[in-house]
Amino acid sequence: MTAVLEARGISKRYGHVEALADANFDVQAGEVVALIGDNGAGKSTLVRILSGAESADAGEVLFDGRQVHLTSPTDARELGMETVFQDLALAPHLSPVQNMYLGREVMRKGLLGKLGFMDAKAMREGSRSAFDRLGATVRDLNGTVGGMSGGQRQGIAVARAAAWAQKVIFLDEPTAALGVVQTQNVLDLIRRVSGEGIGVVFISHSMPHVMEVADRIQVMWRGRRVATYNKADTSMEQLVSAMTGAVAQEAS
């Protein structure tokens, strides 16, 4: 089976720092892949490259088996890949609906749409159904996101990405700074998204969360993927030891 997204031999340097050194990665459709590793292992850099936010110095990215060049987040979005960044990237003064459709507004039909008028009703209904389908708790579609709790905001950010993602969704530490209940909501949401056939890439430092939702776990160490495990065949101890560089399945 071809991976929906695959990276081969990605390298990236920031000055003297080698963030990624010949890193490989792959995710299948409908699969949750956890990307784990110690701080500085290159997880976030890899995700930024795969989501088009940065370009690699070397290596290739394959999308549905075809080589693609991602020069901007827009490129990735057009292929059906969405990213939830660590800092959420919601506009706090806008409503959940406005955030949901920001950059992809539904315009009115005919002349009014050409003049820049938006179809508020369609966007409202679209948001409502997306939030409901994904189980995100959004009580007030008209309120501003900035006035909502961290859990609600994270729910909106994940639901937005999930609603637009056709193929792959990247989540960079989506459960950091969330309470127990909200974390559970986000983890449930991740399962639901993958249930729709979307590949989910999930960066986390939390081994229990990883063990709960991931199908496969890819471990990064010093800018490379050093190991890949099926969840069924591994344990937290094994993952932690791989994260410290004690295991190296893949030759460098």
């Binding site: 800092d87 990237a89 706090p92 003064h93 920001l102 008028f117 309120g143 900035g146």
Partner: protein, 363 residues
């Protein structure tokens, strides 16, 4: 105190979620109440003169040109920017329009139309310059528009050798500047009201307005969502410039002069009106309606003080105090609504900088 078990505290999920939007609506409303109270007080003190058709007409006429500038300024300030150049661009556009109308000749509507095109083009050009420097060169808006404030006035004075031009065609002066569209309703006020309504619709109903809010709220979020932030910022400054150009023509009709020396306080008065009207100088929040109310207050005060026999200079004192009080109260409320943010005036920093994203985007 023994067994009264209160209901468990509502979880943060249940907290009222639309506080911010309610606040912005609330503030426009409060300012409206302030305006109504001010009018009521002066009416009570001078019942025979204050609320008369003649006096209202004067107040509305005096607000009309500021309102046109205020529409553009509201958009700019919602993006987190500022435009200090509107007064100078108004003068520059008036000068260019005057020169071109003299060159074209005549006193009729054809001449006014030529002048209109000239004024709009002049304003638009300055707006584009401001926009490019803010969006592409990333020079802080305060500095960019301080520069164009100086340069546009300089050019206007070079063209006129420092002397005001007074060659507005009859049609512009009699029909727009002083004319009534019907009864005692001044044409200039109706023209201004059309611009205001256009601004309200543009801000609240269109994608253009949404992007304006989005950039002021979190430019980085907009960028990641695919909004062309730089291009939109250029459009917003261009729009403000265009309206300043239009105001230049109205100004020429109203004062029959290019008022070269008379506009140095204009940008500050307009900014004060925008701020009093509830538009946040931190970006992301605001309304054109609030701006119009905010612009009326100083003019009503001045008019009222003169009628009541208080030295009109008190108006400046009161407006200054109201401005600071309104922004202070607004800031307090916003601090409690947008959790744990310590705002930093965005127009002192680079447009759409990462600072605003990390400040406003994080929990």
């Amino acid at each position: 105190m023994t067994t009264t078990r209160t209901a468990p505290p509502a979880s943060t999920e249940d907290a009222p979620t639309s506080r911010l939007s309610r606040i912005s609506r609330l503030q426009a409303l409060q300012i409206l109440i302030l305006l109504v109270v001010t009018v009521a007080v002066f009416t009570a003190l001078r019942p025979e003169t204050f609320l008369t058709g003649f006096n209202i007409r004067g107040i509305v006429q005096n607000t009309a040109i500021y309102a046109v500038l205020g529409v553009g300024m509201t958009f700019v300030i919602i993006t987190g920017g500022i435009d200090l150049s509107v007064g100078s661009v108004l003068v520059f556009s008036g000068v260019v329009a005057d020169k071109i109308m003299v060159w074209y000749g005549g006193q009729g509507w054809g001449t006014v139309l030529v002048g209109l095109v000239a004024a709009l083009a002049s304003g638009l050009a300055w707006g584009l310059v401001n926009g490019f420097l803010v969006a592409k060169a990333k020079v802080p808006p305060l500095v960019v528009t301080l520069g164009s404030l100086s340069a546009a006035l300089g050019f206007a004075q070079i063209i006129t050798k420092g002397l005001d031009l007074r060659d507005a065609p009859q049609a512009l002066v009699n029909d727009i500047g002083f004319g009534n569209i019907v009864g005692q309703v001044p044409t200039i006020a109706v023209v201004s009201a059309v611009v205001v309504i256009f601004g309200i619709v543009l801000l609240h109903r269109t994608r253009f307005g949404l992007y304006t809010y989005a950039i002021g709220s979190n430019a980085e979020a907009g960028r990641r969502a695919g909004v062309k932030v730089e291009r939109h910022l250029i459009k917003v400054y261009a729009f403000a410039g265009l309206l300043a150009g239009f105001a230049g023509l109205l100004n020429l009709g109203f004062f029959q002069s290019t008022t070269i020396g008379g506009q140095s306080n204009t940008p500050l008065n307009v900014i004060a009106g925008v701020a009093i009207g509830g538009t946040s100088l931190f970006g992301g929040i605001g309304s054109v309606f609030g701006t119009v109310i905010g612009l009326f207050i100083p003019i009503v005060l001045q008019n009222g003080f003169i009628q009541v026999g208080v030295q009109p200079f008190w108006q400046q004192v009161v407006v200054g105090a109201v401005l600071v009080a309104v922004v202070y109260i607004d800031q307090l409320r916003r601090a409690s609504a947008l959790r744990g943010t310590s705002p930093r005036l965005p127009f002192l920093s680079r447009a759409g900088g990462a600072g605003s994203a990390s400040r406003k985007g994080s929990a």
